[in-house]
């Protein structure tokens, strides 16, 4: 498959979109993000997405409304709810809307990849092309070439940070009481000055 699978992440917290982008871009996906429902619908109107992830609680338009509108326009696009508010009632509502998944925050990179693969597999299966799903998720060749260097660089960085960690920890441990006393003196002093001025 020549084109990367396209993923849309809808969340008013930009950090969530960045997390998905960081994890999935490395795996060969094209990730778009939207900070609100209207922005997501605008994206959807101009592009076909292979999977959409949406938060529930967002200002203006919530994730359920976003899901409903997407399903009206492109019923074949899998929508996955990603929420920190995973109540049974929300899950039931999501099921009625025909979502492909309902997952709770926080998500690990493995979970992000796993649910994306699952949603894509379901989409491909729905289109009666079971093998295409495997091909769609394969990393692109240029990414495989750089992955060795990334691994080596990653191990080197990990080792360096691990070697530094206990000494940074010791510095923090030793300075902790002084910082605590300093903060106490600062806030205590400010409170005293304020009281003196008020009196």
């Amino acid at each position: 498959m020549n084109t990367s699978p396209k993923v849309l992440v809808v969340d008013d917290d930009a950090v969530v979109g960045r997390s998905f982008d960081r994890v999935l871009s490395q795996k060969g996906y094209a990730v778009s993000t939207a900070l609100s429902g209207p922005e997501a619908l605008n994206e959807i109107s101009g592009k076909d997405f292979d999977v959409v992830f949406t938060d529930i609680k967002m200002p203006g338009m919530d994730g359920f409304e976003v899901t409903k509108r997407i399903k009206e326009k492109c019923p074949w696009t899998p929508v996955v709810i990603v929420t920190g508010y995973g109540t049974a009632a929300n899950e039931a509502t999501a099921e009625v809307l025909g979502v492909s998944g309902f997952v709770r925050k926080p998500l690990t990179p493995e979970m992000i990849e796993g649910i994306t693969l699952k949603a894509l597999h379901e989409k491909e299966a729905g289109e009666a092309a079971p093998q295409a799903a495997e091909a769609a998720i394969e990393p692109r060749p240029e990414m495989a070439e750089t992955s060795v260097w990334k691994t080596v660089a990653g191990i080197t960085k990990n080792t360096a940070l691990l070697l530094a960690a206990p000494f940074v920890g010791l510095v923090y441990a030793v300075s902790l009481p002084f910082v605590g006393l300093g903060l106490l003196a600062w806030f205590g002093g400010r409170a005293l000055v304020r009281r003196y001025k008020a009196g």
Partner: protein
């Protein structure tokens, strides 16, 4: 209730072998040190057991080390290089342990596999796992065969210095185990953290979020 996979299998294997080994090392170490006071086993048996278990624990440490060196979950042990953020989070955690926990306040730290320790735990485990444990291994190894490692022993100031460091670290670990077990009971249920160290999964309490 959300479940998070916080403790991968190699970490759980390492943890329980390490826990058993540490208890056995403490018991045999006490027997070696206080040979006239305690009569659990003969001095020779205690020394042999202490040496063998010591090597098992050293080997086991490399399961932990190799796992983390080859996994991005090592971020849990990375130092926080932003002191402002570190101290803010540390004092927040201290306030929780010092008061909030007794009033049912939520834990300010929300773990995930890449940040499973709160700032106090992170600082403690960085120092313990990457400094104190290796120091204990090295001093133990030197004391195991003083003649063979005589050069290194002399470099460190002699057998008495090496032995004193080994015993001081032993005392630290003997107390650390009690604190570790007590803190292990401070999950959302008293057994939650213990279960997580068997199953790998930690149950997270639901909190209203976005």
């Amino acid at each position: 209730m959300t479940r998070l996979y916080l403790n991968p299998l190699p970490v759980r294997i390492w943890h329980w072998i390490n826990a058993t080994g540490f208890v056995a090392l403490i018991v045999t170490g006490v027997q070696v040190r206080y040979v006239g006071l305690i009569g659990l086993m003969s001095f020779e048996t205690a020394v042999d057991l202490h040496n063998w278990i010591g090597f098992v624990v050293i080997g086991n440490y490399f399961i932990w080390l190799l796992f983390y060196l080859s996994s991005d979950k090592v971020k849990a042990y990375h130092p926080d290089l932003n002191p402002r953020k570190y101290f803010r989070e540390t004092f927040r955690q201290m306030l929780y342990y010092g008061g909030g926990i007794f009033k049912g306040a939520p834990n300010p730290h929300h773990p995930n596999p890449y940040n499973k320790f709160n700032p106090l735990q992170r600082m403690m485990y960085q120092i313990v796992m990457l400094l104190i444990v290796p120091v204990q291994f090295v001093t133990g190894l030197l004391l195991w065969d003083v003649k063979r490692f005589s050069g290194a022993v002399e470099l460190l100031g002699g057998v008495r210095v090496v032995d004193t460091i080994h015993v001081l670290v032993f005392i630290f670990f003997a107390f650390f185990i009690f604190v570790h077990v007590y803190l292990g009971t401070l999950g959302h249920t008293p057994t939650a953290h213990f279960k997580a160290m068997f199953t790998g999964y930690e149950d997270m309490e639901e909190e209203p979020g976005s």
